[in-house]
């Protein structure tokens, strides 16, 4: 795993505020941190502390009210929406708590999707290969509704890694699973992450999970503590 001194993620003075009927609500404020390539970082905190909002902003899925985010030195919000989408396609993988598979696509088609978006010609082969890697070689043509929660999350992990991303964002990846299945999924996630040498940023409120990461960022009411 190659480590170098240039951070892959740099966050400076990040803040997020949303207007509500009762006035402005601050979700995040004064966030500063950086993450080096190959690190595995947990973002922890209580419900409503702003963990998922932070992850969403780091992935360019939402726009901050203040501050900047640099991915591999590039200012994420200097890019337009399509520019950020392109960055995600080329460099970022996602695993969600609710799996977020497309119900009308088979397991194989779900995994092919990011490759097809990138116009890759070997999408089918690559997708089948990684599905075999996560132990779902026999489930390629199954639709999400025919898969168990654990299997769905394996498909999601396969989809996240199939593009060999430099960064993997995981949002409570075991939140919808029982503890035994959750453990197996986490093993798989860390295993493939190691194989591919990606930087992992994981939102979790599970302390034991956070301990498996190289360090943790703790959020409390929108601030890093």
């Amino acid at each position: 795993m190659a480590q170098c001194n240039n951070p892959i993620i740099e966050v400076n003075g990040l803040a997020k505020r949303v207007p509500t009927q009762g006035g402005e609500l601050t979700l995040l404020q004064d966030i500063h941190f950086s993450i080096l390539p190959g690190e595995a970082v947990a973002i922890t905190g209580a419900s409503g502390s702003g963990k998922s909002t932070l992850l969403g902003i780091l992935a360019g899925l939402d726009i901050p009210s203040d501050g900047e985010v640099r991915i591999s030195g590039r200012d994420l919000f200097a890019l337009d929406e399509d520019g950020r989408a392109l960055l995600r396609r080329d460099a970022i993988g996602f695993v969600f708590q609710a799996f977020q598979l497309l119900p009308n696509l088979t397991a194989l088609e779900n995994v092919m999707l990011p490759l097809e978006l990138g116009d890759r010609h070997d999408a089918r082969e690559q997708a089948a290969e990684i599905l075999a890697r996560v132990g779902l070689a026999a489930r390629l043509t199954h639709y999400p509704r025919h898969l168990s929660g654990g299997e769905q999350q394996r498909v999601a992990i396969a989809r996240a890694f199939v593009t060999r991303p430099r960064l993997l964002f995981a949002d409570e990846p075991t939140g919808n699973l029982d503890s035994a299945t959750g453990r197996r999924i986490i093993e798989l996630l860390f295993e493939i992450n190691r194989e591919q040498g990606a930087t992992l940023l994981m939102v979790t409120h599970d302390a034991s999970l956070a301990e498996r990461c190289s360090r943790a960022l703790h959020l409390d009411a929108g601030r890093l503590t």
Partner: protein, 830 residues
């Protein structure tokens, strides 16, 4: 009361949240389509009722093909009724430069007994009610007749042997439309006193005699009873209820057809309503589960939603009635001039009809989905999979189909016809949906081969095969009808004209007298106008077959009843016409015909006439008899003169006859032809080209009106499209968020949407063009008996129009999917 207030509050909130707008719009379109037709037919009906006396010209009218008998006149005198006489027939009217076919009406001074006639004595002075009828030597002409003849008020005009002075332009005559639908020939009104001088009324002329009567209702009733006893055959009595039969019959058939056409929109709107209601109910399941948790009873929940729906139905139906009233003005614009009646304001009935349509549609299509909500268990708050709505259950669509069936029965008043109409609409919808599903399945098999940039759109289409098939079918039905109407209008008429040989007769000459036949024949030949067969014609009514009397009630078939009730044209000939073919028996040899009759095979079949039967005809009060010696097949569409019954030469001698001919006048001979016929003022010329132009104009108008009603169908199809889009909107928003997260650019997502909707539209266009072509071919072969060729341009245009239309509508309906930040969606889902 508490429930009422609660329901109103819910309605306000749901309306503000935009949840009910599509349902409301669909209902407005459904009610507007039905009420537009209803308002229009109601106004014509009212015009006919309110102006019945004026339209008839009296309280009662006795009509006959021969002068009204003395016995009837005597009865009217004894009853103390006012009388006016009218004689009507078609004839040529001539100026020094032009000759025109006109509808001649000679009236006695007392005419009309009810209503009035509007004339102008000095153009362009405004018209006024005429105090008297034209005096002897005077005529009044409809303005378009004046225009055609190049004449003005004050000029003279030739009618038969008489030269008459034009003293007024006849602007409006309630007893006869001045519009175009039923009035091929414009009117000329003259005094009855001048009729003999014209020399136009000959024993066998086609003349209608009428006696108009007015007086107190009881005396009119008494007269009617007595007169029916002494009425000669071929004569009939008409009361105000029978005024303007041509409009009544057109109204009954046309109104019913337009009403059914409007119901197609109701059916499609119903589908949109069912879909919108299902989505609405689906989104209320959690609310209801929580309400149940807090102690609301099933009854309270159902009542609240029922009332909410009822308020919405009332509001939307009222809006629909208003839209229908406005749309009706368009129908009046298209068809009003054809019926030319003073149309009164509509009655309240169409509003009632509209409200009922709205309520039945909502109850049928929307209520079942909402009733499901009442059954949601409180446990759903813990287990979300409980109490989910069934996908497309029979209980949801079954109730809608029953409601629609009731509307059809109400519209037609005929169970059998309703069953046909209902199964027709449902059948077409299911067929189109089935074909669409099949095409989508084929596309699914083939989708990995489509260009990469289109693939997401095609996949989106194939993954929503069910909803998309319904979209294709709903949109396709509207398009099928519009395309079919375009084809019928353009192609079938053109196709028919093309089937006619170039020398097809284009002029008919009627009313030729026996002593003019030889001379006319000679003059036509000298002018190089050939092929003019001039045929004798005697008018007679069939009274007995093999000695057994026949009357209209001897037959169950409507056509047979009509044929027996009226006089038809008999002729005699030594030789069989070239376009006739003997199918049974044999044609007579020259001079050996005896009392043989040759009968057209269709007529023989309808009336049950066989070879060897003896037929008795009443001709001018005496009986003429003959034996059927052959049956003939006649090409009626040849535009040549043909007869139902032809007698062997000799046996009709002595009966009053006039002659008829049809000729082909090449463009270069038109002047010579006009010059010849101008010397025979009694001969009436009917220009086929003018009739064809007239038919085309009338048909264009009617087809436009039908198109107009079917625009509502297209609108409803569009609403189904929006309803299906809305039904999948949540799913699309989520898919969009995931795709964006995985790195899809906006252009990629827009392209996927455009490809999906263009494909839906192209499929709808293709299926509709195919269905319209197929129906066009079936109609051509079975109804119009015309070859109908495939029109690739029409199919291509129809397909493209569908593609572009749905593409634009679909993009507009889903645009907001693209504008939603993905994180918001993903966090909501989590």
């Amino acid at each position: 009361m508490k429930g009422l207030r609660f329901a109103l509050r819910m309605l306000r909130r749901d309306w503000q949240a935009g949840e009910l707008r599509l349902l409301c719009m669909a209902l407005v379109v459904a009610v507007a389509s039905v009420t537009a037709v209803s308002f229009f037919t109601d106004r014509i009906n009212q015009a006919l009722e309110l102006q019945a006396g004026e339209l008839l010209g009296g309280d009662l009218k006795v009509t006959a093909t021969r002068p009204i008998s003395a016995a009837v006149r005597q009865l009217a005198r004894e009853a103390g009724l006012a009388q006016a006489e009218v004689v009507e027939f078609p004839s040529m009217v001539m100026s020094d430069d032009a000759a025109r076919l006109a509808s001649i009406k000679a009236v006695s001074p007392a005419y009309p007994l009810r209503g009035g006639i509007h004339i102008t004595k000095r153009s362009p002075a405004p018209p006024h009610a005429a105090q008297d009828m034209p005096q002897a030597g005077e005529v009044w002409l409809e303005p378009r007749l004046l225009r055609h003849l190049g004449l003005e008020i004050g000029d003279e005009v030739t009618l038969g042997n008489a030269r008459l002075h034009i003293t007024a332009a006849l602007v409006n005559e309630p007893a006869r439309a001045s519009g175009t639908l039923f009035t091929l020939a414009p009117r000329l009104l003259l005094s009855l006193a001048d009729l003999p001088a014209t020399g136009l009324v000959q024993p066998a002329s086609r003349v209608t005699y009428s006696l108009l009567l007015s007086g107190p209702a009881d005396r009119i009733r008494a007269f009617r009873r007595a007169a029916e006893e002494v009425l000669a055959s071929g004569a009939r009595i008409t009361g105000p209820e029978g005024a303007r039969p041509e409009i009544r019959s057109a109204l009954e058939r046309g109104g019913r057809f337009l009403g059914l056409a409007a119901l197609v929109s109701v059916m499609l709107a119903g589908i949109a309503i069912a879909m919108a209601a299902r989505r609405f109910a689906g989104r209320r399941l959690d609310d209801c589960a929580i309400m149940r948790c807090f102690g609301a009873s099933q009854r309270e929940i159902v009542t609240a939603y029922f009332l909410e729906l009822l308020f919405l139905a009332i509001f939307a139906s009222l809006l629909g009635c208003l839209a229908g009233y406005l749309a009706q003005l368009g129908l009046v614009g298209l068809l009003g001039s054809l019926v030319a009646l003073e149309l009164p304001a509509p009655s309240f009935f169409p509003v009632v009809a509209g409200m009922l349509t709205g309520l039945v549609t909502v109850l049928g299509f929307a209520l079942p989905a909402l009733l499901h909500i009442g059954r949601v268990p409180a446990l759903r708050v813990l287990r979300r999979e409980l109490g989910a709505l069934p996908a497309y259950s029979l209980s949801i669509y079954g109730a809608g189909i029953i409601a629609f069936g009731l509307l059809v029965v109400w519209q037609t008043g005929d169970w059998a016809m309703s069953a046909y109409a209902l199964s027709g609409v449902v059948g077409v919808l299911l067929s189109l949906a089935g074909i669409a599903a099949m095409l989508i399945y084929l596309l699914r098999v083939w989708q990995h081969r489509v260009p990469r940039s289109w693939r997401f759109g095609v996949m989106s289409l194939t993954h929503r095969a069910g909803g998309n098939s319904i979209q294709v079918a709903a949109f396709g039905v509207g398009m099928t009808v519009l395309l079919l109407l375009t084809m019928v209008r353009v192609d079938l008429l053109a196709s028919w004209e093309n089937t006619l040989p170039p020398d097809t007769p284009n002029r008919f000459l009627i009313n030729i007298q026996g002593d003019q036949v030889e001379e006319l024949h000679r003059r036509f030949q000298a002018a190089g106008i050939g092929g003019a067969g001039i045929f004798p014609m005697v008018r007679g009514r069939l009274v007995a077959i093999n000695g057994a009397p026949v009357a209209p009630d001897s037959y169950r078939d409507e056509r047979a009843q009509r044929l027996v009730a009226r006089e038809f044209n008999l002729s005699w000939a030594a030789q069989l016409q070239v376009d006739n073919e003997i199918t049974a028996g044999s044609w007579w040899d020259e001079g050996k015909g005896g009392d043989g009759l040759s009968v057209e095979e269709g007529l023989a079949r309808t009336l049950g006439i066989h070879l060897g039967d003896r037929l008795d005809f009443e001709v001018a009060g005496s009986i003429f008899s003959g034996q059927v010696s052959s049956l003939r097949k006649v090409a009626w569409d040849s535009f040549r003169v043909n007869f139902f019954v032809i007698a062997a030469p000799g046996i009709l001698d002595g009966y009053p006859a006039n002659h008829i001919s049809s000729l082909y006048i090449p463009p270069g001979k038109a002047e010579d032809f006009s010059a010849i016929v101008r010397d025979y003022p009694n001969v009436t010329v009917i220009d086929v080209a003018a009739i064809m132009d007239y038919v085309r104009v009338v048909m264009e108008r009617i087809v436009l009106a039908v198109d107009y009603v079917f625009v509502f169908t297209l609108l409803s199809g569009l609403l189904v499209l929006f309803a299906t889009i809305q039904a999948t909107l949540d799913e699309r928003i989520r898919e969009n968020a995931i795709m964006r997260t995985l790195g899809a650019g906006r252009a990629q997502l827009v392209r996927a949407l455009l490809v999906e909707f263009a494909a839906v539209g192209l499929l709808a266009g293709l299926v509709a063009s195919g269905a319209a072509t197929l129906l066009g071919m079936v109609l051509g072969a079975r109804v119009f008996h015309l070859p109908y060729a495939l029109d690739p341009v029409m199919i291509l245009l129809g397909t493209l129009a569908g593609g572009v239309g749905v593409c634009i509508a679909g993009y507009l309906g889903t645009r907001r999917v693209l504008d939603r930040p993905p994180l918001q969606t993903l966090m909501e889902r989590a």
